[in-house]
């Protein structure tokens, strides 16, 4: 089941991606409306991160195309932001929190020029939005996992983009940070920004996302969450493995047990 939208902010058309001739994504085809918080969900190895990377042009496509704001990525790069997985970088790298957030301004500043006071002001403002302004001068090696994620988020905010792609922003993050992040994402969405998030915790899907992309190497479903997030669709994406997960999930929800804090 694939629900298409008129005047999509993102259009992925017949996308196929392979690693050394082995396809990892097959004929993925969907569109996203403006101002939604979309989740990319699927089992391990479903190609969720790969989908994000191919949209960002980090992996060559075997076939198909991606259009953002009805244009190829090259023409609208300054309106697109990307948050890589937290583990993808070396957090012992000798830079400060503010340095990392300023990197979000590099695309706007251009080659051979340095970031100015206006960029610093924007960066500090973004740090404030994620509740990390007290850490601006801190070395990134001293941050906890949740703080690292907030810094990455602040860097993305500093790009002042219109669409944000986030690779597992909730991975290894405590409950308080997760709530702070989702609150921020909602504020951004209400300011008509579009947010695409790779996610793997099925329990929070209904609460967090208003659009869902269900992936398992091929596209299982894409559309509004209440239409896509059904037992039948999830079974299709996860196969038999889901039953145990969903039972555990049900128990958790009934007891209103805050599972992530323990």
């Amino acid at each position: 089941m694939i629900v298409h939208t008129q005047q999509p902010v993102l259009e992925v058309h017949d996308l196929t991606v392979s690693y050394s001739r082995k396809p990892v994504l097959w004929g993925v085809d969907f569109t996203l409306p403006t101002g939604c918080i979309a989740g990319i969900v699927g089992p391990n190895g479903a190609g969720k991160s790969t989908l994000l990377k191919s949209i960002m042009g980090l992996i060559p496509l075997s076939s198909g195309y991606v259009k953002l704001f009805d244009r190829p990525l090259e023409e609208v790069r300054h309106r697109v932001s990307y948050v890589p997985q937290r583990e993808s970088v070396d957090w012992d790298f000798p830079v400060s929190v503010l340095d990392v957030v300023l990197m979000g301004r590099y695309g706007k500043v251009g080659l051979f020029r340095n970031t100015g006071t206006r960029d610093s002001a924007i960066a500090l403002d973004c740090l404030d939005k994620v509740g990390m302004s007290a850490f601006a001068k801190r070395q990134i090696s001293q941050l906890s996992g949740g703080q690292q994620q907030r810094v990455f988020l602040a860097r993305a905010l500093a790009q002042e983009a219109d669409i944000y792609f986030m690779d597992e922003p909730f991975a290894g993050v405590d409950a308080a940070t997760e709530q702070a992040i989702i609150k921020l994402l909602r504020e951004m969405a209400s300011a008509n920004k579009t947010i695409v998030v790779v996610h793997h915790d099925l329990q929070s899907v209904r609460a967090y996302f208003d659009w869902l992309i269900l992936l398992n190497m091929h596209l299982v479903a894409a559309g509004p969450t209440d239409q896509v997030f059904t037992e039948e669709m999830m079974q299709q994406a996860y196969g038999g493995r889901l039953s145990l997960l969903s039972q555990v999930g049900d128990v958790m929800e009934k007891r209103a047990f805050p599972s992530r804090e323990h």
């Binding site: 050394s20 990377k53 960002m56 042009g57 980090l58 090259e74 790069r77 697109v80 932001s81 990307y82 890589p84 993808s88 970088v89 070396d90 790298f93 000798p94 830079v95 400060s96 340095d99 990392v100 990197m103 590099y106 695309g107 500043v109 080659l111 051979f112 340095n114 970031t115 070395q139 090696s141 860097r155």
Partner: protein, 292 residues
């Protein structure tokens, strides 16, 4: 005056190599510097055979070409054959270095180069390698001019490309997403390493070049968590090592390049040990914190 020229040469090489080495270390590519410094050998020999002289320009061109060839081969084997980077480095540079050695031994009669000179260099001869003008005016040792020019080029390169070098080292995926070419900056850095290696190792030898590429930046990395401070500490360390190495060689009547490399190692070891001791001293306070 001899001491001055030798120490100045050593310091120039140490600073130039160290500044580039900072970025190599942060990109986890220290051994690429090692590889390039060896792989430039066949390029130098071929440039020498073709031009018939030890002029700087053909040497730089020849070495730059093989340095880039080595970088390219390493990337190619790594990406196309899915070989681990360190294995790709090992295969590439030993092969190219060996080709260089064979070229030297085959053309031994015609080439004013030998393996010892390549590996150990002879920094002690720097003061007599003078640059004499047509009118007979002596301007001082030729290598000092070449190395100073090289240092200026490297400082300019890092100054201009600082933010791109920093970002492509820290988070290549994010850099690509911004439209900054990670491949371009990778090859620019490697080209700078190739040229630096070549202009340096004629006077100080391949081993000291590697020591300078990695030793001071690794020591600075232990001392600071700020990239700009790391570059500054590396430069200061380079000057200190050139001084200490020279006087150590003077007292021991030993190889100057060897002593400088040893001092580099001692610097790293003493900082490492000092930090260990400092950590152990501060650790008794830790259990109290844990209880609180």
């Amino acid at each position: 005056m001899i001491a001055f020229w030798i120490i100045l040469t050593g310091a120039l090489v140490a600073i130039t190599c160290g500044l580039l080495g900072c970025f190599l270390i942060l990109r986890k590519m220290s051994m690429v510097g090692d590889a390039i410094s060896h792989a430039v050998l066949p390029g130098i020999v071929i440039a020498f055979l073709l031009s018939g002289s030890r002029e700087t320009l053909p040497m730089l061109l020849g070495a730059g070409a093989t340095g880039m060839l080595a970088t390219f081969l390493i990337e190619y084997f790594h990406r196309r054959a899915n070989l681990q980077t360190d294995a790709a480095i090992g295969v590439t540079f030993t092969f190219l270095f060996a080709v260089g050695i064979i070229l030297i031994s085959v053309f031994a009669g015609k080439v004013d180069l030998d393996q010892d000179c390549v590996l150990y260099g002879e920094i002690a001869y720097v003061p007599i390698d003078l640059w004499v003008m047509d009118g007979g005016i002596i301007l001082g040792p030729r290598p000092v001019y070449i190395l100073s020019a090289m240092l200026l080029v490297v400082i300019l390169f890092i100054k201009v490309g600082y933010k791109e070098l920093k970002l492509t080292s820290f988070d290549p995926a994010f850099a690509s997403a911004l439209g900054i070419s990670t491949a371009l900056w990778h090859y620019l850095l490697m080209a700078a390493v190739s040229l630096t290696t070549v202009s340096s190792f004629e006077s100080v030898g391949a081993i000291l070049v590697i020591a300078f590429l990695i030793g001071p930046p690794a020591t600075a990395y232990l001392l600071t968590h700020d990239l700009k401070h790391m570059l500054a500490i590396t430069a200061v360390l380079g000057i200190f090592i050139a001084f200490a190495g020279y006087w150590m060689a003077y007292w021991l009547n030993a190889s100057i390049a060897g002593c400088m490399a040893v001092v580099t190692g001692i610097c790293f070891a003493s900082v490492f040990v000092a930090q260990r001791i400092a950590k152990r001293k501060s650790s008794p306070a830790m259990p109290g914190e844990a209880i609180g």
